[in-house]
Symmetry: C2
């Protein structure tokens, strides 16, 4: 499959950009049951490990996956289930939590830029610079005059990364409020999940609509063919994992990488 | 003196942008002799130390000085002679030599962004991201299709830094070929200066005209009121140091920083 086979998941003007009209349940090109999805995902793991190895050896490109979504949308789960089996030497996850005071003393792209991939590397952003126009906006951490300018910075920054050899794909893990309620409740009900619950999640939940509005502006301002946003229906974890894995594999497949050419004729070499 | 008192040193369209018409000898607003310049520089050191301390404590802005110039134009000398006496806790120098293979595996702004100042910090770039459109261009290290796009990246990057609270001033230390010859010859003649000579300096010297052309395009594309380039006549070291010191002090002076206000009445406090 090629990346273009997933273009109906792209978020762009007049397509998937009104979140209230986008279903967070599996779409019709996804399997109907968990079992079938699991089998396909296993095959994709093998394919991904091979493609990633080739990408790592080739060292001609850099690859950046951005994961965004509401709390409990499954950013960590996606990383765990999609990227198991890759060579950790070439794959790094950067989590962008609340910035430290040292980070806050710099511009907001400073900590992000440090974590961008080198040639041959795949970097996954678990949250990202987009929080600087999402959480920062919704929680009024900086005035509008400041965050409004950031859409342009972000586009410029991503364009520079692209010009210098980075491939960027951005995923929005789309769940509905009912699913979030279930998942938060589960964190309260199951003692082994209690650590995942943070009372501040309820504050964010109470601002759901503001987040939706902020996300919609993000999509409107920062989705480009070169650095597209994909909406990932994420109410079902197995469908979410499968779709992200499919897109990631298609992205690497499209590069048509082969192992580097050698400058000698292997058949001419005799080892005594 | 205010920064606007030095606006005749700005490089912009139809002003100082044709280097062959710009004198590298001290201009008429600079003292005529070394002794007079030294006295003024001493006064400026005291002023700078005080202003920098206030800037460091205030922590509301970031300050970036970029130094560029041909070999032997005196980037190190300028740093040494202008910034002596400042609190090293708040002043950092970043030298951008030939990139390492690790740095080259990232985009060219990656190593630069890591070194940008935090609030309250003054960072001096000894060479900078401008080498990625100067040395890279003249020595054909990357194709034109790549470096041509970098003018836009650089403007976007600097604009983002500015929007997020950085003040940027850029200095071009202007010498002529005859002065370079003298200084290179001195490095050969004086054993204690031999270490400063690098045979590759002669290759760069042989490409003088290409560098001039590359610099002129840099000025044309990247000099803005918000992140201006100043031409510093640098044939005379004492005039160069004095002028940079004057501009640096004027820049800090313009900020009109005072020490942070306290929220208590110091006179009401009695220490037993």
């Amino acid at each position: 499959m090629e990346l273009s086979d997933y273009k109906h998941y792209l978020i762009k003007k007049d397509q998937n950009d009104n979140l209230s009209k986008v279903s967070p349940d599996p779409w019709k090109d996804l399997p109907e049951c968990k079992k079938e999805a699991r089998e396909e995902l296993s095959d994709l793991h093998i394919r991904l490990a091979e493609l990633q190895q080739r990408f790592f050896v080739d060292k001609s490109k850099k690859l950046l996956f951005v994961l965004q979504g509401m709390d409990t949308s499954g950013k960590n789960g996606t990383i765990k289930h999609v990227f198991r089996g890759v060579n950790p030497q070439g794959v790094h996850v950067s989590s962008f939590d609340k910035p430290t005071s040292h980070e806050l003393a710099h511009d907001y792209l400073w900590r992000v830029h440090r974590s961008t991939p080198a040639n041959g590397e795949i970097v996954i952003f678990d949250r990202s610079h987009y929080e600087d126009v999402l959480a920062v906006r919704v929680n009024e951490l900086r005035p509008k005059a400041i965050w409004k300018k950031r859409f342009r910075h972000i586009n410029d920054f991503e364009q520079m990364l692209i010009d210098e050899g980075t491939i960027i794909l951005k995923f929005f893990l789309h769940i509905d409020r009912a699913t979030q309620k279930e998942r938060l409740q589960e964190r309260l009900d199951r003692p082994e999940k209690n650590w995942k619950f943070d009372p501040s999640d309820l504050v964010a939940r109470s601002r759901w609509e503001q987040y939706v509005e902020a996300y919609e502006e993000v999509f409107d301002k920062t989705s480009h063919l070169d650095a597209p946003w994909y909406v990932i229906p994420a109410n079902k974890k197995w469908a979410r994992n499968l779709l992200v894995a499919r897109i990631v594999v298609a992205c690497l497949d499209d590069l048509q990488l082969s192992y580097p050419k050698v400058t000698y004729d292997p058949s001419s070499i005799q080892i005594d």
